[in-house]
C-alpha cells in the first residue's frame, strides 16, 4: 500500500480543523423537518420555519462545499484522500439507487401483485365488482373521472434523447479537461447544463399537460402515485445534478481543476450518468410498457 503524494506534498492523511459547518447543517435540517411538519398540518408559521431551514441549508452547503473546493485547490488532498472521495461518491450513489428501488418496487408490486389481486374473483364478488387487472389503473374506488396516461413517444422520448445527448456532451467536456482543452470543457459543460434545463422545462410542461388535459394527478390512484413520485424524484435529482454542474462550470471559469486533479468534476459526472440511467428505466417501465 504505497502512498504517492501530489507535487505540493499533501499530508498523508487530511484531518480538517474543528468546524461549525456540521452543526449549521443539523440546525438547517431540524428547521426544515419542523417547518415541513407544520406546513403539512397547516399550522401558521410553518412556511417561515421551512424557508429558514432551506436558507440555512443553502448557506451551509455554499460555505462547506466552498471550503472543500478551496482545500482541494490548495493541494491539501493527497491521492489517498482522492481515493476516499471516490469510494464515498460510489457508495452515496448506491444509496440513491436503493432509494429509487423502493419506488420501482412499489410500481412493480402494484402492477404485478396488487392489481390482479384486487380483480380476483373473490374481490369482484364481495368488494369491487368493477375491478379490472389493467394498467394503468387508479384503483376500484377511483372516482376522479377518466384519465389517459402519458404516451411514451412524445415528450418522454424527446426527453430520453435530451438526457442521452447530455451524457455525451458531458463526456466530451471531460475529454476536454483531460487534454487541457478548456474551451471544449466549458462548451461541453454549458451544453450539458442547457440540455438538463430543457429536460426540466419539458418535464414541467408535461406535468401541466397531464394535470389540465390528461387528468392524471397525484390523486389518480396508484398510477398517479407512482407516476408522480418516480418522475418527480427523478426530476428533483436532475435539478440537483444541473445545479452541481453549474457549480462545476463556475469553478472551471474560476480556473479550478487540472487534467490530473479534478475529482469534483468526475463525481458530478458520475451523478449525472446515474440520473441518466434512472431515466432510461423510468422511460421503459413508467411510460413505455
Amino acid at each position: 500500500m504505497s502512498s504517492s503524494h501530489t507535487p505540493q506534498q499533501a499530508p498523508y492523511y487530511y484531518v480538517p480543523a474543528p468546524s461549525t459547518y456540521p452543526i449549521t447543517g443539523s440546525i438547517a435540517l431540524f428547521l426544515f423537518a419542523l417547518g415541513s411538519v407544520l406546513t403539512m398540518n397547516k399550522i401558521s408559521g410553518g412556511g417561515f420555519v421551512l424557508g429558514a431551514g432551506l436558507l440555512v441549508l443553502f448557506y451551509m452547503m455554499y460555505t462547506w462545499f466552498g471550503k472543500v473546493a478551496q482545500e482541494s485547490e490548495g493541494g491539501l488532498y493527497s491521492k489517498r484522500v482522492g481515493v476516499s472521495f471516490r469510494w464515498a461518491m460510489g457508495w452515496f450513489i448506491f444509496s440513491e439507487v436503493m432509494f429509487f428501488a423502493a419506488f420501482f418496487g412499489a410500481l412493480f408490486y402494484a402492477r404485478v401483485l396488487a392489481m390482479p389481486d384486487l380483480a380476483s374473483l373473490e374481490h369482484q364478488a364481495l368488494l369491487w365488482p368493477e375491478a379490472k387487472a389493467l394498467w394503468p389503473n387508479a384503483g376500484p374506488g377511483y372516482d376522479g373521472g377518466p384519465f389517459s396516461p402519458m404516451g411514451a413517444w412524445g415528450i418522454p422520448a424527446i426527453n430520453t434523447l435530451l438526457l442521452l445527448t447530455s451524457g455525451v456532451t458531458l463526456t466530451w467536456a471531460h475529454h476536454g479537461l483531460l487534454h487541457n482543452n478548456r474551451g471544449q470543457l466549458k462548451l461541453g459543460l454549458f451544453l450539458t447544463i442547457a440540455l438538463g434545463v430543457v429536460f426540466l422545462g419539458f418535464q414541467g410542461y408535461e406535468y401541466a399537460h397531464a394535470y389540465s388535459e390528461l387528468n392524471v394527478k397525484m390523486t389518480t390512484g396508484v398510477f398517479g402515485s407512482v407516476f408522480y413520485m418516480l418522475t418527480g424524484f427523478h426530476g428533483f435529482h436532475v435539478t440537483v445534478g444541473a445545479t452541481m454542474l453549474i457549480v462545476i462550470l463556475c469553478r472551471v471559469l474560476a480556473g479550478h481543476f487540472s487534467p490530473e486533479n479534478h475529482f469534483g468534476f468526475e463525481a458530478v459526472a458520475w451523478y449525472w450518468h446515474f440520473v441518466d440511467v434512472v431515466w432510461l428505466l423510468l422511460f421503459v417501465v413508467v411510460y413505455w410498457i
Binding site: 480538517p16 447543517g25 429509487f100
Partner: protein
C-alpha cells in the same frame, strides 16, 4: 475563491485555535471525541427508551388499566422501539466504530472527519422530534415501531414528526456508514490487508454496507406514508389500487437487514473479547468473515418471514421459511467458532468476558427461538404474541446490549486510562443476567399461551408471569445505573491502566498509551 491556502495548512498546525468547552464538542473533527459523544448519546437514549419500557411493564404488572391510557401505551411501545433501535443500539455501535476502527487499522482518524461530526449532530434533532411528539395534540406515533399503514396514514401530527425523525436518522446513519466503509477500505496502515483486520472491522464493513443498502429503502417507505397522508397518493390504499401489504414488503426489506445491522457489530465486539480472555487467537478467522458476509447477503432475501399472516402463496411461505432457516448455518459457524476459541484456552472471567459468555448463551437461545418462528405453521400461531417479544429481546438485549457492555468494559481502560471497578462490573453483569431472564424468559410462556403483544390489558391467566416479568424489568432497569456509576468512577480515577491492560488482547489499539492520546497514528504504523 481567490485566496487559496498553501499546502502548509495542516490540521495539527491549528491546535492553538481549537475551541474549548461546549463548542469543542460541537465542532470537533476528532474520531475519539465523536465516538465518546455517540456512546453518551446512546446511553442517554437507552435510559429514555428504558423508562418507556418501564411504563409498559408498570401497566402490565397486573390485569386491567392502571397507569396509562391505551393510546399512551401504544405511543410508549412505538417510541420505545424506535428509540432503542435508532437512538440507543445503532449509535452505541457507531460509537465503538468511531473510537476503535481508526485505532485498529492504524489510521489517524476517520476518512471524512467533518462529515463524521455531522453524522453525530444529526442525532439530537431527530431525538428532539421523536420525544417532543409526545407533547403534540394526538400524541406520538402509536403504531408500533414498524409504522404500518393504514394506521399510520390516519394518525396525527406526531406521526409526521416520527417520519421526519426517521429521515434525519437515516441521513445520519448513511453518512456514518459511508465514512466507515471508506475508512476501512482506504485508510488501513501499510501491511494491514483486509484479511489481517481485526474481526470487529470486518463486521462493521459488512454492517455499513447493509446500512447504505437498506436505510434509503426505509426512507422511501416512510416517504410513501407521508405522501399518502398529505398529498393524496394511494400507495397503501386498496381503493386507489394500492395495498397496505406493499408497505410491509418495503419495510421488511429494510427491517430484516436492520436486525443484522444491530447484531453484526455485536458479533464483532464479542469476536475481539473472547480471544483476549481465552488467550488464544480467534478460531476460524476466515470462516468468521465468510459467515458474516453470508448472513448479510441472506438477510436481503428472507424479509417476508415477518409477514406470514398477511396472506401469501404457499410457494412464497415455503421459500421464505427455508431461506430463513439457512441463516442458522452461518450463525452456527460463528457460535461454534466462539466456543472453539474458548476450548482449551487459558480462560479468565473479567466483566467483558462475562458479558460475552452471557451473550453467547442468550443470543444462541434467541437464535433458536427465531428458528422456531421461522416455521410458517408455528409462526401463524405465535405471530404478534409475547413469544416474538421474548425472541427479539433475547437477540437485541442479551445479544446486542450485552455485547455493547462487553465492548465498553473491554475498552474503558483504553478510553479513560483507568481500570474500572471490577467488583461493580461483575455486580452489573450478574444483576443484568438474572433480571434479564426474569423479564424475558417468562414471556416465552406468555406467548405460547396466547398473550398478544402491544395490548395494555390481558386475560387473568397471564397475571403471574406478567408480574414476574415486570419485577424483572424494574430490576433490570435499576441495575443499568450500576454501569453509569462504573463509568463515572472510571472517568474520575482508579488504578492506572497500562497500554495493554489485558494480557491476552491483540491489535494496534493496545500499542498506543492509555488513555489514547487525542491524536494517534499520525504516521501510520507498519503491520507485518
Amino acid at each position: 475563491m481567490a485566496a487559496i491556502p498553501g499546502g502548509a495548512d495542516h490540521s495539527h498546525d491549528h491546535a492553538h485555535d481549537h475551541p474549548s468547552g461546549f463548542m469543542r464538542w460541537v465542532t470537533t473533527t476528532n474520531h475519539k471525541d465523536i465516538g465518546s459523544m455517540y456512546l453518551w448519546f446512546s446511553f442517554a437514549m437507552f435510559i429514555v427508551g428504558g423508562i418507556m419500557a418501564l411504563v409498559i411493564r408498570a401497566e402490565l404488572f397486573q390485569p386491567g388499566l392502571q397507569v396509562v391510557d391505551p393510546d399512551r401505551f401504544n405511543q410508549m411501545t412505538t417510541l420505545h422501539g424506535l428509540i432503542m433501535v435508532f437512538g440507543a443500539i445503532m449509535p452505541a455501535f457507531v460509537g465503538f466504530a468511531n473510537w476503535m476502527i481508526p485505532l485498529m487499522i492504524g489510521a489517524s482518524d476517520m476518512a471524512f472527519a467533518r462529515m463524521n461530526n455531522w453524522s453525530f449532530w444529526l442525532l439530537p434533532p431527530a431525538a428532539i422530534l421523536l420525544t417532543s411528539s409526545l407533547l403534540v395534540p394526538g400524541g406520538a406515533a402509536a403504531s408500533g415501531w414498524t409504522l404500518y399503514p393504514p394506521l399510520t396514514v390516519q394518525m396525527g401530527i406526531g406521526m409526521d414528526m416520527a417520519i421526519f425523525a426517521v429521515h434525519i436518522l437515516g441521513i445520519s446513519s448513511i453518512m456514518g456508514s459511508i465514512n466507515i466503509v471508506t475508512t476501512i477500505l482506504n485508510m488501513r496502515a501499510p501491511g494491514m490487508t483486509l484479511m489481517k483486520m481485526p474481526l470487529f472491522c470486518w463486521t462493521w464493513l459488512i454492517t455499513a454496507y447493509l446500512v447504505i443498502a437498506v436505510m434509503p429503502v426505509l426512507a422511501g417507505a416512510v416517504t410513501m406514508i407521508l405522501t399518502d397522508r398529505h398529498f393524496g397518493t394511494s400507495f397503501f390504499n386498496a381503493a386507489g389500487g394500492g395495498d397496505p401489504v406493499l408497505y410491509q414488503h418495503i419495510f421488511w426489506f429494510f427491517g430484516h437487514p436492520e436486525v443484522y445491522i444491530i447484531a453484526i457489530p455485536a458479533f464483532g465486539v464479542v469476536s475481539q473479547v473472547i480471544p483476549a480472555f481465552s488467550r488464544k487467537p480467534l478460531f476460524g478467522y476466515a470462516s468468521m468473515v465468510y459467515a458474516t458476509s453470508s448472513i448479510a447477503i441472506l438477510s436481503f432475501i428472507v424479509w417476508a418471514h415477518h409477514m406470514y399472516t398477511v396472506g401469501m402463496p404457499v410457494a412464497g411461505q415455503l421459500y421464505f421459511m427455508f431461506a430463513t432457516m439457512l441463516i442458522a448455518i452461518p450463525t452456527g459457524v460463528k457460535v461454534f467458532n466462539w466456543v472453539a476459541t474458548m476450548w482449551r484456552g487459558s480462560l479468565s472471567f473479567e466483566t467483558p468476558m462475562l458479558f460475552s459468555i452471557g451473550f453467547l448463551f442468550l443470543f444462541t437461545l434467541g437464535g433458536f427461538s427465531g428458528l422456531v418462528l421461522s416455521m410458517t405453521a408455528v409462526d401463524v400461531q405465535l405471530h404478534d404474541s409475547y413469544y416474538v417479544v421474548a425472541h427479539f429481546h433475547y437477540v437485541m438485549v442479551a445479544g446486542a446490549l450485552f455485547s455493547a457492555y462487553a465492548g465498553a468494559y473491554y475498552w474503558l481502560p483504553k478510553w479513560t486510562g483507568h481500570m474500572y471497578d471490577e467488583k461493580l462490573g461483575k455486580l452489573h453483569f450478574w444483576l443484568s443476567l438474572i433480571f434479564f431472564n426474569m423479564t424475558f424468559f417468562v414471556q416465552h410462556f406468555l406467548g405460547l399461551a396466547g398473550m398478544p403483544r402491544r395490548i395494555p390489558d390481558y386475560s387473568l391467566q397471564f397475571a403471574e408471569f406478567n408480574k414476574i416479568s415486570s419485577i424483572g424489568a424494574f430490576g433490570f432497569g435499576l441495575s443499568q445505573l450500576v454501569f453509569l456509576v462504573v463509568v463515572l468512577k472510571c472517568l474520575k480515577g482508579g488504578e492506572k491502566a497500562s497500554a495493554k491492560p489485558w494480557d491476552g488482547a491483540e491489535g494496534l489499539e493496545w500499542t498506543v498509551p492509555s488513555p489514547a492520546p487525542h491524536h494517534t497514528f499520525e504516521v501510520p504504523p507498519v503491520v507485518k
